[in-house]
Each structure stands twice: as structure tokens, then as C-alpha cells.
Amino acid sequence: MAPLTSEEYKVLEQSRQRLVQLTRSLGSLVSSLEQGDPLPPWSSLQSQASIISNNLISVTEHLSDHRDLLSSIVAYPGPEYPGRTQENMLQQLMRTKLDPRVEDWVARGRIAGTESSPSALDFSRTIPNPSAAVNTSTKQLTEPELKELWEWAPVEANQEARQRNWGGHYTLEEREAGIQNVVTGLRRQLEDDDASEDEDEGDEDEGEDEMEVVGVHRKSSGGIEFDIAPHHARAVEPVVPLDKILRYMTTGHMP
């Protein structure tokens, strides 16, 4: 058999690295589950799970990409391998059949795959892509399940609705984050009618022009803070210094 080219070595090396990454992230999940007391928050578990799932995807994609090469490679010990002293290791490396425990897992996984997706047969000849398998597992709800869902949904939606103060087109969170970022999916422009509501507050001092409050905002620590004067298009700096003006005001000496 012809020796491997450097390209093929690289493929093997990449498979090894991806598997190492996968085992590492699995190991960290296991250790955080075992040692975390109390258990780590769900968000961290969730992110670890998604890391693992990404690792799995990359491993399976890699394996299926190089399926031809990997299935044709035969492993055998080199003549310089210390076969006598390291026999156990050699047998581990050379085994072609899976460990019985692993074989059980694989069997369970295959059964689960065929049960959950009707189209699983289509994937049976290739290495199943986990993300594709998730997408295709749209199980039909049975009649009682559907009924249960429809009984649950209106109550739950109503409760969610009662938590909010309705009015306007945008939620408070959306308004704080800036309404221009909200994806409404609508073609027409929603107007933000809250912004113009705070007028007409009481005209006690009629005859005077109401000054609007701009350039001031509340500090988070309490108190107020002024915006730095905005850059002005026609910025004209005073020519006469302040003390000259004050001198004129005091004594009438022209600056």
C-alpha cells in the first residue's frame, strides 16, 4: 500500500484535533456537573451543551467529508513498535470492533434516530448529521396533546399580557434599546406616539414661551448632569475676554 501523502496526514491530524476538542468539552461538562455544588446555572449548562453540539457537528462533518480516505486507511504497527512490552496498548489501538458498552450506546442512538424521524432511513447510509436530525424530528402531535396545548395556550398568553402596560407600538425594553433596532417585519413605518405625549402639561404661565428641557439627563447615581455643549456649526468664540467685559461694566472703560 502506498504511503500517505502529507495531505492525508493533515486530514488525520485534523480528525484527531477535533476529537480532542470534543472530549475536552465533554470532560468539562462532566466535571462541572460532578463538582458544581449547587449545580451550575442553566445558562452555563446550555452554553456548554451548545459547545458540545458544535464540536459534534464539526467532527461528523469532517468524518463524512473524508469518508473515502478514512474508510480506506488500514492501521498496522510499525516494526519499531515495542509490541512485547506495550501489548495492551497495541491491542487497544488495533481493535476494529467497538467496546461492548459503546456498541450499546450506538445501538440505542440508532433506535432513537429511527423512531424520532420518519425520514431517518434516508440518512442511514451516511453518517447522520445531528443538526439535520434535530430539524427533521417534527413529530406529529396526537389529538389529546393538541387539545391540551390549545387549552393551555390562551390562559398562558393572557397571563403574559397582563404583566404589561399596553399602549403604543413598542415595549419599554425595545424603547430603551432604541426603536430603530426593532425588527417589526412590517413595511410601513410605525410612529412612536409616546414621544409627543408629554406636551400640554398645564399652561399656568401663559404668555411666556415654554422652555423645553434639553441637554439634561438624570445620573444613575441620582442628581442631574448636563450634556456637554454640542458642537455648533457656527461656533463663534468670544473675542473680548471676560475680565475686559467686567471692567467695562464696572468703570465704563472701553476694552
Binding site: 404661565d205 404668555g207 411666556e208 414661551d209 415654554e210 422652555m211 423645553e212 428641557v213 434639553v214 441637554g215 439634561v216 442628581g223 442631574i224 448632569e225 448636563f226 450634556d227 456637554i228 455643549a229 454640542p230 455648533h232 457656527r234 461656533a235 463663534v236 468664540e237 468670544p238 473675542v239 473680548v240 475676554p241 471676560l242 475680565d243 475686559k244 467685559i245 467686567l246 471692567r247 467695562y248 461694566m249 464696572t250 468703570t251 465704563g252 476694552p255
Partner: protein, 282 residues
């Protein structure tokens, strides 16, 4: 009485924004103010005044206490002193053109409804009456020296003066008219702080500088700012009745410095150059 002050120079482009910021800070609308300010300078050695000489003796209007205070103030040394007379927009001669302002400056807020051109000043609804002008004497000492505090402190006093032509009275007290100008601006009150955002306006030049206060006021639009770019002066002041009370003075200067901190990002309030506020007549 003592007065504690901080000043800042406000470029004209910042004026409108600062007005709004101050309105927000003080929770009040700006009170527009127009003041005639007459500068008088002492020409006699104090102590030479023997009695009241000449002039329209309307002095009964001012209370006896005020008169005493005025005498005391005026005889303390050789000083420049100011006579301040509040005026209103209507006191100024109407312009032949429409009164609306071209650049919508805040100084004209509320008066820019275009009037029909007045054929003659006598037909205007309101004519400035110099003889009814009220006056207030405002005496300011040179700011105290060598105070380590970060605010300008000076002795001040004011007293009501008789209405109308004030010059004979001032002459009798030993004061000669130097010049006059107009101060226009907006007043805000923030707790115990009086905030005055103002600028100096000159009477239109061309005519010869008069030797006495004007009896008529030109159209307000013809007034030109002393600072050609039209910049404003922000003055924050606290008046303390008993200047010898260190505790009150300390509180007052702390309040001023607090305001300075609040306005820090908008304007830089600072104590004024002491010599620029020197009122001593040399």
C-alpha cells in the same frame, strides 16, 4: 451685605442651549431683564458734602433709612458706582420696520408679533417717560483680596433712588456721570443663587457721546453688543446679609461651588479677576 460670585463666559452659539439647561435645572422659566446702567464716578473728596444742592428733590420718595445708607455709602471713599434702572421692551422706540427678529433670538421672545409701521413715535401706544424711570443705586466694593476661597467675595449695598432725572442728585453727592449702557439677559433663581445670563448692549454710535443720561431710548434692535460676537456672561451670585458670619459665608460659597459642579459639563464658572472688578476711582 456681602456678595459671592462666580462668572463664566458663554459663546453666543451656546446661549440658547444653556438657557434651556438652566430652565431645567432651576425648574423655572427665564425672567427676561433689561436694565439701564449708568456709571458714576466720584469726583470730590468725601466729606466735602455739606448738604443737598439743587436737583429735582423728589427725595421724599426714598425712605429716610435709605437716604442715610446712601450718604454713608457715597462718602466712604472714591468709587465708581452704578445706578440701575429696569426698563422693558416697550420702553424702546419702535422701529419703522417690522419688529420681528431675523434670527429669532430669545431676547425677543413674546414681542415678535409684527406691528404695522408706526408713522410717528407719538402715536405709539407707550412712550418712554424718563421722569418716571425708577432707579436703584448699586454700590460694589473691590473684591476681597487674599481670600483663598474659590469664589469672588465683595461688599455690596444698594438703595432706592428718586425717580426721574437722577443726575443732579448724583452730582450733589459728588458723583459725575461717566457713561451708560444697557444690560439684557435672563434671570433664574436656584435655591439661594441668583443666576443672571446677560450681555452688555451699547447705544447706537454716531451721535456725540452725551454728557448725561439719555432721556429717550433708541430702538432695541439698533443696540449693538459690546462683545461683537454677541457672547454672554453667566453670573451666579449669592447675597449674604451678615458678611462677618463665617458660617454663613462658608455655606454660601459651598452652594456656589455646588452649582459650579452641576454646570461643569456645560460652562466653567470661575471667580473673576479681582482687578477687573476694581471699583476704586484713581
Amino acid at each position: 451685605m456681602h456678595e459671592l460670585l462666580l462668572f463664566a463666559s458663554v459663546p453666543v452659539h451656546q446661549h440658547h442651549g444653556l438657557l434651556q439647561q438652566l430652565a431645567g435645572l432651576t425648574a423655572m422659566q427665564p425672567r427676561h431683564a433689561l436694565e439701564r446702567r449708568l456709571i458714576f464716578k466720584a469726583f470730590r473728596k468725601p466729606g466735602l458734602i455739606t448738604g443737598r444742592v439743587g436737583g429735582s428733590q423728589d427725595l421724599q420718595q426714598a425712605s429716610a433709612g435709605d437716604l442715610q445708607r446712601v450718604n454713608k455709602m457715597l462718602n466712604g471713599g472714591m468709587f465708581y458706582t452704578q445706578v440701575v434702572g429696569p426698563v422693558s421692551n416697550h420702553d424702546f422706540a419702535p422701529t419703522s420696520k417690522s419688529v420681528s427678529t431675523p434670527d429669532a433670538d430669545t431676547q425677543m421672545a413674546g414681542v415678535d408679533e409684527p406691528k404695522p409701521p408706526a408713522p410717528a413715535p407719538s402715536e405709539a401706544a407707550h412712550v418712554y417717560d424718563y421722569d418716571q424711570q425708577t432707579w436703584k443705586l448699586e454700590f460694589r466694593d473691590i473684591p476681597e483680596a487674599a481670600t483663598r476661597s474659590a469664589v469672588t467675595t465683595r461688599v455690596m449695598a444698594s438703595a432706592a433712588l428718586p425717580r426721574g432725572d437722577i443726575e443732579p442728585s448724583m452730582n450733589a453727592w459728588g458723583y459725575g456721570f461717566v457713561t451708560e449702557y444697557l444690560v439684557e439677559g435672563d434671570v433664574f433663581i436656584h435655591n439661594d443663587i441668583v443666576i443672571f445670563l446677560h450681555r452688555v448692549l451699547h447705544y447706537p454710535t454716531g451721535e456725540k457721546e452725551p454728557r448725561e443720561p439719555r432721556r429717550n431710548l433708541p430702538p432695541l434692535k439698533k443696540m449693538a453688543p459690546l462683545e461683537k460676537t454677541g457672547s454672554y456672561v453667566l453670573q451666579a451670585s449669592i447675597t449674604v446679609q451678615d458678611g462677618s458670619n463665617q458660617e454663613t459665608m462658608k455655606t454660601a460659597s459651598q452652594h456656589l461651588l455646588g452649582l459650579r459642579e452641576q454646570l461643569k459639563s456645560a460652562v466653567r464658572l470661575e471667580p473673576a479677576d479681582r482687578l477687573s472688578l476694581d471699583t476704586r476711582a484713581k
